[in-house]
């Protein structure tokens, strides 16, 4: 780009840009329009922003030339200009004005030809708001732009979530909203959007674009994890995983990050047969465990890919110990794993989920004791003395007194991880003769 731009050239470029926008609108070319109004990624935006810098009177130019779209174009040009100068807060404010004007126009268009542009607006406004907030935070001001973007997107959602052809674009905006809400930590605001998406009778969810569905499922799945609805979370996250573009590694990893603990918490553990089938036993042990636990049971075709993903991502290290401890009934290992990765787990919000696996570990431990006992003295196999459990725990370097262990046993029975009863007088755990350790089989504890 030439260092010096003549006034005339600048004028021409701006004029050119304006006419392209007008052409795109008049010819109902949504894709072209979308690319034109993408502030942060518009093609040729550098040349345009140069022109804007050279020709500071551009608002008047735009206003004069295209008066009927001045509301849209003037702030849009301002936004592009501010963005090129790295003044994101200003850019955001201008862009929001432009976006409002665009929304106004969009409402009046009968067909959803401009859906792509609308999506671009929704996307851009979120990006700009994030940048603006970062800028505001560094200057010590109140970063409230993302919030403002959220409320603007709610308006957009209102314009889209109606009967008719425009509804197909609603899910995209929903996902943008999710991203904003998750970032802001105002997750409860998602509820209203979800309700309006899921209760709509006149529009089948499956008709939405796949990418939106995947994103939507991912976020709603995460929400369910927070709510500890592991079954629903499992469904949603699995759906997201199954439909996710296998090329999009980071997305897959993100989904797995939540799906694995969910799977574990509903008792889905690796099946040996599967592991053998895919010849994973020689593979990195941890990866095998993880995969067998969370993925392989459901996904045959992506196995190798997912293994790589897990290996590259940090997840193997994070989850391997957890899974191992579950398999072994090694309470100590679980606690160590939790302790080691506490920060990450807390940050991603799965800490509490993993913590709850403790009872399953206890169950596994008791089961192991039971198996050993059955081998030693089959007659008394279903009577497990409390002392034995205490001893086992001691061996694991977990110091619990009799009362506590008794309490844990009671809890296991209460939570239906063990069938049987506890005789207090004799301090004996009496197991049911059939199926003393029921599988969770997808039921959460």
């Amino acid at each position: 780009m030439a260092a010096y731009l003549s006034m005339g050239e600048a004028h021409r470029r701006i004029g050119d840009y304006l006419s392209r926008v007008v052409d795109a609108i008049s010819s109902s070319d949504g894709a072209a329009l979308a690319s034109l109004i993408a502030v942060s990624s518009a093609p040729g935006s550098t040349s345009l922003s140069d022109a804007l810098a050279t020709f500071p009177d551009f608002p008047r130019l735009a206003g004069d030339r295209i008066p009927h779209l001045a509301d849209l174009l003037v702030p849009l040009l301002r936004a592009i200009h501010s963005h090129s100068l790295q003044r994101f807060a200003d850019a955001y404010s201008s862009f929001e004005k432009a976006a409002s004007a665009f929304l106004q126009e969009f409402r009046s268009w009968e067909t959803p030809w401009a859906m792509e542009a609308m999506h671009t607006v929704a996307f851009e406004i979120r990006l700009l708001a994030e940048k603006a907030d970062r800028e505001l935070a560094t200057t010590g001001k109140n970063p409230d732009k993302l919030q403002a973007a959220g409320s603007f997107l709610m308006k957009v959602f209102g314009a889209l979530a109606v009967k008719g052809p425009k509804r197909i674009g609603a899910l995209y905006v929903t996902c943008q909203l999710f991203k904003i809400y998750f970032r802001l930590g105002t997750v409860n605001l998602c509820r209203s959007v979800i309700r309006s998406i899921e209760t709509a009778r006149n529009f089948d969810f499956e008709d939405f674009p796949v990418k939106d569905k995947v994103t939507y499922m991912y976020y709603t799945g995460r929400l369910e994890v927070f709510n500890e609805n592991f079954l629903v979370a499992d469904q949603k996250l699995t759906y997201a995983l199954m439909h996710c573009n296998p090329q999009s590694e980071s997305n897959l990893r993100r989904i797995l990050k939540f799906l694995i603990p969910v799977k574990l918490s509903i008792g889905v553990l690796p099946k040996r047969t599967l592991l053998e089938t895919y010849n994973l036993l020689e593979f990195d042990k941890h990866v095998c465990v993880v995969l067998s636990g969370a993925i392989v049971t459901h996904l045959g075709r992506y196995t190798m890919l997912l293994i790589e993903i897990c290996a590259r991502g940090n997840m193997t290290f994070q989850y391997a110990d957890v899974v191992t401890s579950l398999k072994r009934g090694d309470l100590r290992l679980l606690r160590q794993a939790l302790d080691r990765h506490e920060d990450q787990f807390l940050k991603s919000g799965v800490y509490l989920v993993l913590e709850k696996l403790e009872l399953q570990v206890y169950q596994r431990l008791v089961k192991k004791i039971h198996i050993i006992q059955r081998q030693k003295e089959p007659a008394k196999a279903h009577q497990i003395k409390l002392d034995v459990v205490v001893k086992a725990l001691k061996w694991l370097e977990i110091d619990m007194d009799l009362d506590e262990v008794e309490c844990i046993m009671a809890c296991l029975i209460y939570k239906n991880l063990i069938k049987g009863y506890f005789a207090h007088k004799s301090k004996v755990l009496v197991l049911s003769k059939q199926d003393p350790f029921p599988k969770l089989n997808g039921k959460p504890v």
């Binding site: 930590g185 997750v187 807390l346 940050k347 509490l352 009362d403 029975i413 009863y421 506890f422 207090h424």
Partner: protein, 1057 residues
């Protein structure tokens, strides 16, 4: 009160003419009703209400009986609807019939424009009085502003505003008399007026303004006396007329009109003399200057200005703010003078007249357009401030006294400050500043709308200042203040030739070089603001005068200082205003210039100080104002003072007249008491004051810079430091009362007293309710004074602990959220202990996993090593896995007050445990075992069971209450039949479930009621904010009181306000 307006009511003809006025009055009434009456006597609180209701009645009465402008039908309608008090009117009628009936000077309303002209006579009268005196006085006085520049002039300058005031008072007096009682006077006035008017050109030629001034005092004084006699009578409608009249008669003369309006206004409010006089006086100064200068060239610019005025006025009130935007300095002036501005339009009789009329609409019959709104509002408010006294109470005397003082001032500029005006000391001390302040004060009650005015007012000042500056320079100025040159330079561009005619200069400046002037004006305004803030600080810290009449401003605690009726809140108001009204342009200003001005101002303060010291009575007050002390270079201005005295000897003589002395005495007595108390408090917090001042300064400087940068400020940018008050209350014990108005420093305790109070609470033997009440009031005082330090943390910690012990989760949550913020700001406290509490609270009492996660994630490694935090985390594990045994073990070993928070969860945990055990144990479990693991038995450190019987019985009782089936086995031990129990187990009603035994404090633990604490808080806030919506002041208050982090609610409040 009027009945509800329904569509069915048929409004008689002419209603639309009077409706706006009545509506305005009603609005005022509402405001008066809602006005906080803290610190007022019971009857005092009612004064404004009475006054307004009288005003309404009088309005209708005048319209019907005196001016005969409304039909009987309309009159009856008003009576029926309750707009007027029938009995009151009857009484007035009776009085009138007994005395001589006054022929109403006014023509009927129907005559449209003519009324104005006809009114002119009266207008002229009023005008005359004020104009003559003030103009002369002002001439001298304006220089006063320059005071900083010229030593001799300084004194004068300080006097100037007052002089103006006095003239105002005079005007008022004449005013009230003229229209109603004495037709003779009226005529006389007009004559004078005419003379004056004609003489005006002549006067201009006179080079010595001073002479005129000397003459003037006498004149002013007389009116004053008349005023006294006149008492409190007010005629709103007549006021309108006056204004119009003034306009017509004095088409070219802007200043005259200005006075005029003021007069009118005063008459209308009867009580308002002070406030108005303040407003007026600034303008009057200008006017006076103009008159004195009387340059032909000058007159030309004037005319132009006048023409502009109508335009401005026609625009809606908000325009006032927009005026600056126009870029004409003139506009600024106009805006300032707004009240006066109305009169200006007179040159174009019909339209301007109307506008002016509108502005006065309160009094006026016909409903003006929107323009008047703003102004009216302000005007109304002003009466509200000072009005009650003069009208209703015996305090008419006060009013009178004030006026007298004012007179003195005008006459004896010098002496007056110290002597005559004990009350006003503050003002007089700050003389240069005082003008704006006073004006502001009057406006304060209005709140926002007033802000605009304030701006204007301040702008008004500028002209005066400028004018004075130039004058001073021209005259021999003894005082050499470094800053002076700057100021002079700033203005020099504007006023090259005007030096000799200060008055003119001030006015004309805009015309000459609009831009330059504006800059200068802006600078001056800024300066005024800055000074004002400083002053504010002083005021805040200042001892409290009882000031019954003081109108409590919004956030300002300044009320304490308001002993003087008209003097209301301090300058901070102004700042607020400026922020809220971005329209007031703060564009161009040169920062340096501003600072320079600020310096000048401070200098002025200093100069005044010595004077005040000369008078013993005053001394105290002066010392009271910390800013002065701080600034106190204490350069003795006494010699200058003496110089001045020469000039004003005659005036002094007047001031010293026995009558005057008596008045003064009376006045000073009234304030003796308050001064004492204030002194005391001041001493105790002297160094605090200094600190406060420093803070203020910082705030100011930051503020200035911000202004410089942005030009407009949002509410969130408000500089709370500058608004912070300083308590003076010495009581250690103080109950909590939710603030419904701006805090009053006299009932707010300073930090060291709060410390004692905290110690008192800690050692107190009384119950939680008492302690909670005390702590809340301590917290309130801390918040109001914005004290955030270790003490604050300590108070919150103490309260949080007490609340935990009492199971008062609500209070605990409040404290915890505050503590979180305070800790985040790096203030030391028991951070570990309270992060443990926070964890426990979140995990046990919030049902929000995200909150738990985030609070767990926020713990640092170091924090996790703390025993209390470890304990809390262990509790978390126990709860998560349902390990009730561990839970109760931890419960027994809980460090600090962790057990108190766990207490509230115990019941639930026990029930969960019972459910679990009844499912898993077979066939029986001994009660003793259950009692042990469920924490019924208290065990000592060795694990031995102590007082087992009590625990057992308690456990048995609990088990029975929860529906377990008990049986006795062979050995005689009580057993729980688990199988049977599993079917019968239930959670009893909550009242039984209060673990800590005090049902009134129980935090209900049923699921439904386990509302998220944040939700509770929010609801509480919303409720409180909705209740606070009633006045603009309260909105601000809410902002100040409530945790600043919760801005949404407060902002909402503001919007509504």
């Amino acid at each position: 009160m009027p009945k509800i307006k329904t569509s069915r009511v048929k409004y008689p003809e002419g209603w639309e003419l009077i409706e706006p006025t009545l509506r305005d009055l009603e609005a005022k009434m509402r405001e008066a009703e809602n006005d906080p009456h803290d610190g007022k006597r019971k009857c005092e609180a009612l004064w404004p209400i009475f006054r307004i209701s009288h005003q309404k009645s009088r309005y209708i009465y005048d319209l019907y009986y005196r001016r005969k402008e409304i039909s009987k039908e309309l009159y009856e309608f008003c009576l029926d609807q309750g707009y007027a008090d029938r009995n009151l009117i009857a009484k007035w009628k009776k009085v009138v019939s007994m005395g001589q009936t006054n022929p109403s000077p006014y023509p009927p309303l129907t005559s449209s424009h003519q009324p104005w002209s006809s009114a002119s006579g009266s207008a002229m009268v009023s005008w005359n009085n004020p104009v003559d005196k003030p103009s002369q006085d002002t001439v001298y006085y304006d220089p006063q502003r320059d005071v900083s520049v010229a030593g001799g002039n300084q004194n004068v300058g300080s006097g100037a505003p007052y002089a103006a005031q006095s003239s105002m008072g005079m005007t008022d007096a004449s005013h009230s008399h003229v229209p109603y009682s004495s037709s003779v006077q009226h005529g006389y006035n007009t004559v004078e007026y005419a003379n004056y008017y004609y003489s005006y050109p002549q006067a201009t030629n006179d080079s010595s303004v001073q002479q005129e001034a000397n003459q003037h005092p006498g004149a002013a004084y007389q009116p004053l006396t008349s005023f006294q006699n006149s008492g409190s009578y007010i005629d709103p409608t007549s006021n309108t007329y006056y204004n119009s009249g003034g306009h017509q008669t004095v088409p070219g003369y802007g200043s005259s009109s200005y006075y005029y309006q003021n007069n009118t206004w005063n008459g209308g409010s009867s009580g308002n003399n002070y406030a108005q006089s303040y407003q007026n006086y600034s303008s009057s100064d200008t006017n006076a200057l103009q008159s004195s200068t009387s340059m032909p060239a000058n007159s030309v610019p004037y005319q132009q200005q006048y023409n502009q005025w109508p335009y401005y006025y026609n625009q809606s009130v908000p325009n006032a703010s927009s005026n600056p935007v126009d870029g004409k300095s003139t506009t600024d002036n106009v805006a300032v003078n707004t009240p006066s501005g109305y009169s200006y339009p007179s040159s174009q009789p019909p339209p301007p007249g109307t506008t002016s009329w509108k502005s006065n609409s309160v009094a006026s019959v016909a409903p003006p357009v929107q323009d008047s709104h703003h102004l009216n509002f302000i005007m109304l408010q002003a009466p509200g401030v000072s009005g009650p006294q003069s009208q209703y109470g015996n305090q008419a005397q006060d009013h009178h006294a004030n006026q007298a003082l004012g007179v003195q001032w005008s006459q004896n500029h010098y002496a007056y400050q110290a002597q005559a005006y004990p009350q006003k000391t503050m003002n007089s001390n700050h003389a240069p500043l005082s003008n704006p302040e006073d004006q502001q004060r009057t406006i304060e009650p209005i709140g926002r709308s007033s802000n605009t005015l304030l701006n204007h007012v301040s702008e008004n000042f500028q002209p005066n200042l400028q004018g004075s500056v130039t004058t001073n320079t021209s005259s021999e100025s003894k005082i050499q203040i470094p800053t002076n040159p700057r100021i002079a330079s700033g203005f020099s561009m504007v006023i090259p030739k005007s030096e000799k005619k200060p008055a003119y200069v001030s006015v004309s400046m805009p015309a000459d070089n609009a831009k330059a002037t504006q800059v200068g004006l802006d600078a001056v305004t800024r300066k005024a603001i800055a000074d004002g803030t400083i002053l504010t600080k002083n005021w805040d810290t200042e001892p409290l005068l009882p000031l019954p009449e003081s109108v409590v401003g919004m956030t300002e605690a300044s009320s304490a200082n308001h002993s003087v009726p008209f003097s209301s809140t301090p300058t901070p108001r102004k700042r607020v205003k400026s922020r809220w009204e971005p329209a007031v342009d703060e564009k161009v200003t040169n920062k340096v210039e501003q600072i320079a001005k600020g310096l000048v101002n401070s200098n002025i303060h200093n100069t005044f100080e010595p004077k005040s010291r000369m008078r013993p009575a005053k001394k105290q007050k002066v010392s009271g104002s910390s800013s002065q002390i701080q600034n106190g270079n204490a350069s003795s201005d006494s010699d200058k003072e003496q110089d001045l005295t020469k000039y004003y000897a005659s005036a002094t003589a007047l001031a010293n007249s026995p009558e005057e002395k008596k008045r003064r005495e009376h006045r000073s007595k009234r304030f003796e008491r308050s001064q004492d108390s204030s002194l005391k408090s001041r001493n105790s917090s002297a160094n605090k004051d200094t600190m406060a001042n420093m803070r203020t300064r910082r705030a100011i400087s930051s503020n200035l810079s911000r202004t410089y940068e942005e030009g407009t400020r949002a509410v969130e940018d408000m500089d709370w430091d500058a608004l912070t008050i300083k308590g003076t209350c010495q009581e250690i014990e103080k109950g909590y009362l939710r603030l419904t108005s701006a805090p009053d420093p006299s009932i707010v305790r300073p930090e060291e007293v709060l410390e004692k109070a905290l110690a008192m609470v800690e050692t107190s033997e009384k119950n939680y309710f008492y302690k909670c009440d005390q702590l809340k009031s301590i917290r309130q005082d801390l918040t109001v004074q914005r004290i955030q330090n270790e003490l604050t943390v300590k108070v919150y910690e103490t309260h949080a602990r007490l609340a935990m012990q009492a199971g008062d989760l609500r209070e605990y949550n409040q404290c915890q959220s505050q503590l979180k913020r305070l800790y985040a700001e790096g203030i030391k406290g028991c951070y570990f202990e309270f992060s443990a509490y926070n964890l426990l609270c979140v995990m046990l009492h919030y049902n929000n996993k995200r909150d738990l996660l985030s609070s767990m994630a926020s713990l640092s490694k170091e924090t996790k090593q703390d025993a209390a935090v470890k304990h809390a985390l262990a509790v978390h594990t126990a709860v998560l896995s349902g390990n009730y045994v561990l839970f109760f073990k931890l419960y027994k070993k809980a460090p600090n007050l962790n057990s108190c928070l766990m207490d509230l969860y115990v019941e639930r945990m026990r029930f969960e445990a019972m459910k679990c055990m009844s499912r898993s144990y077979r066939p029986t479990v001994p009660v003793g075992y259950v009692a042990q693991i469920l924490g019924f038995l208290r065990t000592d450190s060795e694990g031995c069971t102590t007082d087992g019987d009590d625990g057992l019985q308690e456990c048995e009782k609990w088990l029975k209450a929860h529906g377990t089936v008990l049986s006795v086995d062979n050995s005689g031990e009580l057993q729980i039949d688990m199988k049977a129990s599993s079917a019968t187990l239930y959670m009893p009603e909550p009242e039984n479930a209060v673990a800590h035994g005090d049902a009134s404090l129980a935090f209900s633990r049923t699921n439904k009621q386990r509302e998220h604490p944040m939700e509770q808080l929010k609801g509480c806030l919303q409720r409180s904010s909705s209740r606070r919506m009633w006045s603009p002041g309260s909105g601000l208050l809410a902002l100040a009181i409530i945790d600043p982090c919760i801005q949404s609610c407060t902002l909402k409040t503001e919007e509504i306000c």
